[in-house]
Symmetry: C3
């Protein structure tokens, strides 16, 4: 059989037309620092995506559900859920960056820069900012900064992630650059639109009058809901995000790399925890930044997810007395009674914990009469 482009395609000689992604994806050797990738399939977000996101996660933030509320707060329409934007932008990078990833190791400097609305079209580019071969000679760690822009070229999201990627061959490379990663997005640089007003976000629409002032650093919230994950659910979500990583979809590919079951895409775990956390964080208006975090253990269909938040810090936002920032730790745990889960120190691993995310949200402050 004469294969035009087939299973052996990725292993052949260097491509002459750089823009054609090899069918088998890129390997560690391909990620020279400074290399840029323009990711395929720009995507116009629609009300259909927003609706599916509610069905997939159970999200209930009123700002993403009610057009009159969104307009009363200064938006021109309901903004698309921040995490749907994140997951769709992330999804675009997978075919280029993490198709041959063994693990998604971490996030840093994730900045939500501008709201996205139905009708906006997202495109995404990435640049390799570091690559270091592992001593085992089989894999390496690739550091990438990615940016998603809308149809007007305005950046809506930028982030760094690093992944462990398989090498194409056993030949040793000289790649050993590790970038300096910011440990946080400073509160002063959190982006909140000037025109955004929290005045309309009352307890009548959110179900709660808990505001910024009520979240004392060091306190924690065990959110009451739980969500048992099904194969169809996470695959529908991950396809909606156009994330093509085989590990989420193909039981045979999954077994070849040593797992029994398809893995749930980590970004969807974040989305499910965020939705569970609505009860207790009702007046959150937006996610402003993800400082760092990791998928501590994998999640599989059949697992039931729960969410705890720990309040890390309460930051004022310059020039605003209606909105403040909360720095939070989102702890996603599975198959555990949160009441029995001890406090988890930062960096501490607990077998029940699947997600440990350090991030900042914008939340309404108490309104003076």
């Amino acid at each position: 059989m004469n294969h035009l482009i087939g299973p052996t395609f990725g292993g052949g000689p260097p491509r002459t037309r750089a823009q054609s992604r090899p069918l088998e994806g890129y390997f560690f050797e391909d990620f020279a620092p400074g290399r840029r990738f323009v990711h395929a399939t720009p995507r116009t977000l629609t009300a259909g995506d927003a609706s599916l996101y509610i069905a997939l996660t159970g999200a209930r933030q009123p700002l993403n559900c009610s057009e009159p509320l969104a307009r009363a707060m200064g938006h021109r329409a309901c903004p698309i859920d921040d995490l749907l934007v994140f997951n769709i932008a992330f999804g675009k990078t997978v075919a280029d960056i993490s198709y041959n990833a063994v693990a998604n190791l971490g996030y840093a400097d994730v900045r939500f820069l501008a709201p996205v609305y139905a009708g906006d079209t997202l495109a995404c580019e990435s640049e390799v900012i570091g690559a270091k071969e592992n001593t085992n000679g089989k894999t390496g760690v690739v550091y990438v900064r990615s940016e998603a822009t809308n149809q007007e070229g305005v950046a809506v999201l930028s982030w760094i992630r690093w992944v462990m990627v398989r090498k194409r061959s056993s030949a040793t490379t000289a790649m050993g650059s590790v970038p300096e990663l910011p440990s946080e997005v400073p509160a002063a640089s959190l982006r909140v639109p000037q025109w955004l007003s929290a005045r309309a976000l009352t307890a009548r629409v959110t179900g709660s009058s808990r505001t910024w002032e009520d979240y004392a650093p060091g306190s924690s919230i065990d959110h009451p809901g739980g969500m048992t994950v099904e194969e169809s659910d996470h695959m529908l979500a991950t396809r909606l995000y156009q994330n093509t990583a085989r590990i989420h979809f193909d039981v045979h590919a999954v077994k070849r790399i040593g797992f029994d079951k398809r893995l749930v895409y980590g970004g969807h775990v974040i989305s499910l925890c965020r939705a569970l956390a609505y009860d207790g964080l009702e007046n959150v208006v937006a996610i402003a930044a993800i400082h760092g975090g990791a998928h501590v253990h994998p999640t599989f269909a059949g697992d039931t997810l729960y969410c705890r938040h720990v309040v890390v810090a309460r930051d004022a936002l310059p020039g605003r007395n209606d909105l403040g920032a909360l720095r939070l730790r989102m702890i996603g745990a599975k198959d555990v009674d949160l009441a029995q889960l001890p406090a988890i120190a930062p960096g501490e691993k607990n077998p029940s914990v699947v997600l440990d995310l350090d991030y900042s949200v914008v939340i309404s402050r108490r309104q003076s009469a």
Copy 2:
């Protein structure tokens, strides 16, 4: 660990800010007759919701699918399926009313008051109209009237339901009020828009020329289709409705209250039966009222649903010769050959029957040449 609001939150002293729903939900003691709840998360319905509803149920009523038909009948666009409106409105009440419900006992006086279109925003309020402690001291029955309005404040749906709710403590209460419940929505008060015309609803678009005249009281229809329910299906639907009752989502919470499997939300069972009933009730234009009904037995993933309708009465609609009302009993049964299912007397329980609903639809009448 210093819990800001956590698992023990619901058991604490009375809230000072009444609008903050306790994370663990309200208990029987909280439902003093006359108390009002403004439910969270107003929701703008979209074409995405309508599309998902088709995918989740297989609904095929042409009026909800074809814009040209909807306009030819006088609507300004495709109306949102009545049961999608019902389920989304119902979903809003759950966090306040039935989060700690043991069972959803019944419906009365459900009135579909105005059509809802993509772009309309639904909000929902409820008032406690009765509450009676059970003799076991552990639970009580709460009666609630709820109303959903659109962004112009027009009521689109109102209904009474009663639920069995757990008590917070074992202390006996004085609550013993049971409201008088209407046994039906009188045919004369069924709401049909003046401008609605059935002229365009021909057999070419519905697949059938069976009209109001063909449905003889006492006759019945065993609809031919069946639908095997999956966990993902009912959870996607129930999340789309933003119904947060744990019993539908969390296998561990489900086991703690004595079930083996997640329960399928009853409103979705009604939706599935309605979709199966398209074949045989093709010219139904709208649901006008639900007089009463109950979820006789629970439905679980793996069950296959079938639907029988019994024609109870044929009511003329004042001033209309193109449309009439049919009062129907919708019997939802599972894992049974309907041909083998005997006639079920009103109120009679049969182990195969999961749903017994007494309701009225608007259907086209025979058109004179």
Copy 3:
């Protein structure tokens, strides 16, 4: 019990009002050549349908995802995915044509005639073009030509299919007409809009610069992805298509006809294979025709689908130097390593192969500088 219309309805005397489809569907005897069917439920397609289709299949063709790209190519908006149009049009015919089908035997002369956009309303009619009783006396083969039109009456899709349908009674019929079926849609009659421009379809948006010139007849592509199918996934899709065939939904009905599990609707298998084939066929702009093909073996939940394409021919399109046609064989296989799957001769059966489709796509040609 007095059945108005029930399980025995289909077996009764001839209907006087021909437009009412019998609840039990039509049988072989009903398909006299020349008989026409106007299928129920015209459907306005929406952005919600497009979004669901991405979630159900993982489709990534940029033309169907990006409004700016679609406009730059001359479309007035993102066209609806050709196979979503096909599956929805096909779905409309099921209740009339294949409700009592034993097997969907084949397709011929499938022509994609005009793009469909969100907001367009599809309606569908069919004509019986042949019917031949089988010698077993229990079934017969029915040949049907169907056509889907938009709200302006413009034909957007036409196709022939033939199905094996059960007879109502054992009485022998005189039906023995087999139509002459075209073996292909000639390349010269493939419909490509004059205004369509491929100029904007660059490697930046598709991820590949592989164009028409790169696909040598005789070569093949083993697409790298795989998709494990779940019950919820295929049922959601098939309900979205409003395809009511019981074999996809009702485990009891499925067992009565000798299967263990619900069958995955064949059209959805085509959709999944098409989505997998994005990697390797990135610059395909549209499906122009399906010449023929068959669902060689059934697909069930739990199966993992893979896709191979064989390039059959490269056809120039009259008057176009920016677009060409490729005639392709789409081979869908399950639970097999494609690298181990031998070349399959046309018509050859292989136990791993579920789909063998002969079709033509429009793809961009190399752009001169």
